[in-house]
Amino acid sequence: MIHLKETTLLYDGTFDGFLTCVFEVFNLKLYQVTIIRKSRFQQSLFGVTLEITSDSQKANRVWHGLKKKLSNKGNSRLYYAFLSENPGVENHLLRYIQYAFKNQSPIDSDFTNNDVLKVAQIAKSVGREKHRMEAFVRFRLSKDNIYFATIEPDFDVLPLITKHFKSRYADQKWIIYDLARNYGISYNLETVNIITLDFPTDFDPIKTTEAFFASEEIEFQTLWQDYFNSTNIPSRKNLKLHVQHIPKRYWKLLSEKQVSV
């Protein structure tokens, strides 16, 4: 049986869910396909809409198949690009995967192919955001001795930065919380877990108040601001370069860019 009609596959937004969709595309021999996460779907008039339930077995089969077809770099690009959550990225990824399965040797450096190039470019910008978060996370010591940081990254990079922070801050408890996606990662000196927090109504996660944070915290923020100002060379002022390196949307995360603590 061959479906020639246009099909829309809906999934739950997880990577497993997406890979399950890919599995079904091959399984049901679908040709005209759009994959879209359920939360973004608006009823369409034409074609068939199928809701796909995440199935880790099916997802694993696709993933293992890809491992044989792509280099490590090609595979990680796929995952990075997925985490961009860009509208329509699923369809680039699907065509990328189909192209990979069609060929004997890895195609992940065929940059003349539109989808390969696009996936590489999106993966690159996700990689940049990951690196920015490794740089711009600012921990603040809370009253209960946890180093706490909030972020609002452009892409869903928490899964990508977990390892970096775990191996670096192995001897302190910490939480990095994504305010935009409302979940975080928490390290308890042994393992990193995914958490969701309900903040008290009087808690502003951006501000460092004495009610929630250790008293020395404010001193160290002051010292850090002083250091930041003293290490600047005014006669070389170059604000354009400054903003290029730290775009303004990140300033609210950075204690050194606040006027006063």
């Binding site: 065929d110 003349t112 191996s167 001897d171 020395e216 370069l241």
Partner: protein, 420 residues
């Protein structure tokens, strides 16, 4: 730690340390094996950027700005009337650890004015690194300054705790050094550098036999030169730099445009512009030497003693060697592709990978992100579309300049601005 006193010292000693350019935190191999604090593997991270656009990766401070020397180019010279301060060992340790725990920094860059003697100063620096490693279980990045004239034993100990060591040669020529820093001799800079180089080689070879050999300065050595303080030519700077890269296996040479800080008649006066464009061209040359396979003599020689300010050094070289172009995108080797103006190494690798699948045409190359406004005069794709006019170097240069926007246009622009 008394907050107010530390705050005052931090302001003075960070301000005094800021003229040291190096802020690299990459290239080390110190992983967090003992569940301690910190991890210095792989790439460096710039945690912030100051308003001058420079990266903040390390806590860069002087241990003290008291100094027995009187080098004309230096803010902390003995005869300068400035506030002096000195950190205690514990203060530096506390600042480093607490900044690191908050993810402000990758580690510590500790330098110092020279008080009492070279060895006395070096000993203090080493003791701080030792305390961080052994007592605080710190695996972050430590960059220590090698104090000129320090003894071999101290340099050896320093290498066991630090990731990188550096000694600044400051003035590119011996003659310049004699004028601006008469108390210092180049031999004093070179001695610790040579010692560290030899130790690195020795530790590396021992590592091959005994795996548990401790690491010795795993991120290597670097140095820095001041540009535009002693009237030297670009050729003198880059040949000196090349000498140090080859002779001492340096990881980096930094070039620092001289920032006028005194009314000394031997130096450019206060109010003189920092030579930032020249500095940029020198860094470009440095990159060509280290990553693009150029020999320094190809770019700077007796006929061309200074770099063009209006075009980058690779384009400058290409314009002098037009007989080597155009280069075929689909056939040329890596070495020759790397010499095409407008092609960076990233583009070169992408081209080499992508052309295994099919012949590349102009559209492919453009979509890969190549700067075609420069590259198109030096490339061909095996098709009939390529630059056919027999342009002279001067014509080519003006064509390229017309079609590009340099961020330095205001610094270069000879033309008058009519409006404001």
């Amino acid at each position: 730690m008394s907050f107010v006193r530390t705050q005052e010292k931090l302001k003075i000693l960070a301000d005094a340390a800021k003229y040291d350019v190096s802020c690299s935190s990459s290239g080390s191999k110190r992983n967090n094996a003992n569940k301690g604090l910190g991890d210095a593997t792989g790439m460096g991270i710039c945690h912030s950027y100051t308003e001058d656009g420079r990266c903040v990766s390390l806590l860069k401070i002087l241990l003290t700005n008291y100094c027995i020397f009187d080098c004309a180019y230096c803010v902390t010279r003995k005869s300068n009337d400035i506030k002096r301060a000195a950190f205690q060992v514990q203060e530096v340790v506390d600042l480093t650890i607490n900044f690191y725990r908050r993810n402000y920094i990758e580690g510590l860059f500790l330098s110092s004015g020279i008080f009492k003697s070279a060895d006395y100063t070096m000993e203090r620096l080493v003791s701080i690194a030792k305390k961080l490693r052994l007592e605080e279980n710190f695996n972050g990045y430590i960059h220590l300054k090698s104090i000129p004239g320090a003894s071999d034993e101290l340099m050896k100990e320093a290498g066991l705790y630090a990731d990188r060591l550096s000694v600044n040669i400051e003035i590119p020529t011996k003659e310049g050094l004699a004028v601006l820093a008469p108390e210092k001799r180049r031999e004093d800079f070179i001695k610790p550098m040579a010692k560290v180089k030899n130790e690195i080689i020795q530790y590396k070879s021992e590592m091959k036999i005994i795996k548990s050999t401790p690491k010795f300065a795993p991120a290597g050595q670097s140095t820095q030169m001041i540009i535009g303080a002693s009237g030297e030519s670009d050729q003198q700077i880059m040949w000196t730099s090349n000498y140090f890269y080859k002779k001492f296996n340096l990881k980096r040479v930094y070039y620092s445009g001289y920032i006028p800080i005194s009314y000394d008649s031997r130096l450019p006066q206060i109010g003189t512009d920092v030579p930032m464009l020249r500095e940029n061209r020198l860094y470009q040359t440095d990159w060509l030497m280290r990553f693009y396979g150029f020999e320094v003599e190809e770019i700077l020689n007796n006929e061309n003693q200074n770099l063009d300010l209006d075009v980058d050094p690779k384009l400058g070289w290409a314009l002098r060697n037009l007989d080597q172009f155009p280069v075929n995108v689909n056939k040329a080797d890596k070495r020759m592709l790397a010499r095409v103006p407008g092609l960076g190494m990233k583009s070169v690798y992408k081209i080499i990978e992508a052309r295994r699948f099919r012949m590349l045409n102009w559209e492919h190359i453009q979509r890969l992100g190549v700067a075609l406004n420069r590259a198109k005069y030096f490339l061909e794709c095996g098709t009939r579309e390529y630059e056919r006019r027999d342009l002279t170097a001067i014509q080519l240069k003006s064509l390229i300049l017309q079609n590009s926007n340099s961020k330095y246009r205001t610094a270069l622009g000879p033309q008058l601005n009519l409006f404001g």
